[in-house]
């Protein structure tokens, strides 16, 4: 792994909302919402294309007051990459270890929360509100098979509602 790499976070087609220490991200291309915990959020915010992995680790320490190494930063970037939240497709090399093994190693060594990105799922009540009778419309994903004539789904097409037949 090259820790002098300067990762770039994706900015386009994303709606970002900070909530307490977390960052919520809605991807307009995939119509999926993600929640970055504080650790993942700090890393993501520092991926400006000017800061190296090692410098991000230093900034992380300054910001959180907890010691982390470069693997910790790579772990966050790996997940951000998977969710298409990075511009630069940097791939970490965990030296033959699986991500799970790295998580275990870092988890044992650090007292700070591991970078975690979780997907946000629409609340159950929203399902009922948008049921169109043809298909079950689920908030949070992109409509595909919904007939254009369906007023509920077609209306909300792409905004927040998706049809899963």
């Amino acid at each position: 792994m090259n820790n002098s790499e300067k990762p770039v976070a994706r900015k386009n087609s994303l709606v970002v909302q900070e909530l307490n220490n977390e960052v919520l991200v809605y991807d307009l291309e995939t119509n999926k919402a993600h929640c970055l915990n504080e650790s993942a959020a700090i890393v993501w915010k520092h991926c400006d294309g000017k800061t190296t992995i090692s410098d991000i680790a230093k900034q992380f320490i300054n910001k959180s007051g907890n010691k982390v190494d470069d693997d910790f930063i790579w772990l966050a970037i790996d997940q951000l990459n998977d969710l298409n939240l990075m511009e630069s497709g940097l791939k970490p090399d965990f030296k033959g270890q699986s991500r799970r093994e790295v998580i275990k190693k870092i988890g044992l060594a650090s007292i700070i929360a591991l970078p975690i990105i979780s997907s946000l799922v629409a609340p159950q009540s929203a399902y009922a509100n948008v049921s169109c009778g043809i298909a079950t419309c689920v908030v949070g994903t992109m409509p595909s098979g919904c007939p254009a004539a369906c007023p509920t789904c077609a209306g909300a097409n792409g905004a927040t509602v998706v049809c899963t037949v």
């Binding site: 909302q17 609340p123 043809i134 908030v139 909300a156 792409g158």
Partner: protein, 270 residues
């Protein structure tokens, strides 16, 4: 917690779309006015997110056909927009006057046009009644508009720009908000007046709130035979509140029946 997160990101997403549609229409020199949705949500306290499903935009008679023809444009065809041709039954003040009094608010770096709070409160009250008083939770919209109204809120503009009948509708809706949500009306000109609620209205809203089946547009219900029957049945006899509003009726009339009959024929387009 995840519901809170979902609501927070959905709210941001909706705001993003509002900015996008305003930018879009302004590129064509069309100036819409946002009603309901975000323009109410901004009165809510920060810890209480008021989500909305669509974006209600009002266009002048002149701009409406062009706005509708642009609605299929790729840039906005994935956004749920409700296009209103002026305010029709929701208000009787001429659109030119409403537009002249409308305000520009900032949504991040975008300027959004909304009705002035006095006009908006009137519109929200009539809209709530048009729904037949079904949505108790939407009384919170009225609650927060009044609770967080500007210091120079012009009650005269709000109540006396319309007929006495409409004034009564609005005062009664505010009165219901006071009765059921504890809205504080002290130091307002309707402090006493809002307590005088017709008995039929109280009875009607309370019975509506007991019902499990909510009113749905027939076009949506028509995709399911059972729900279509339920929705048709729900419309008979017509909701007394909706019928009164549709017929520009009097809240203090002795009976609702004539409004209901008239409304039924009106809806059947006789």
């Amino acid at each position: 917690m995840s519901v809170d997160k979902w609501n927070a990101i959905k709210f941001s997403l909706d705001c993003f779309y509002i900015k996008k549609v305003f930018d879009f229409f302004r590129n064509f020199e069309i100036e819409p006015v946002l009603i309901k949705g975000y323009s109410i949500a901004r009165y809510y306290p920060q810890n209480k997110i008021r989500n909305f499903l669509d974006i209600d935009l009002v266009f002048s008679d002149k701009d409406f056909p062009r706005a509708k023809s642009l609605s299929k444009s790729l840039e906005i065809d994935d956004i749920l927009i409700d296009y209103h041709l002026e305010l029709r039954h929701l208000d009787t003040v001429p659109w030119a006057n409403l537009f002249a009094k409308s305000e520009i608010i900032k949504l991040d770096d975008t300027e959004i046009r909304v009705l002035c709070p006095e006009d908006h409160l009137r519109v929200i009250c009539v809209h709530w009644l048009t729904d037949g008083g079904e949505y108790r939770e939407k009384l919170w919209d009225i609650y927060y508009i009044i609770e967080n109204r500007p210091a120079d809120f012009d009650w005269d503009r709000c109540l006396n720009s319309v007929s006495k009948r409409r004034r009564r509708w609005i005062v009664c809706t505010i009165g219901l908000t006071q009765k059921y949500l504890g809205l504080d009306l002290s130091n307002t000109p309707i402090e006493e007046e809002a307590k005088d609620l017709p008995r039929w209205l109280i009875k009607k809203v309370e019975s509506e709130w007991q019902k499990e089946l909510r009113l749905e547009p027939l076009i949506i219900a028509s995709y399911n035979y059972k729900s279509l029957i339920q929705q048709l049945w729900k419309r008979f006899p017509p909701n007394a509140i909706t019928a009164t509003i549709d017929c520009e009726g009097d809240f203090d009339a002795r009976t609702r029946i004539f409004y209901q009959i008239r409304d039924m024929f009106k809806r059947l387009k006789f």
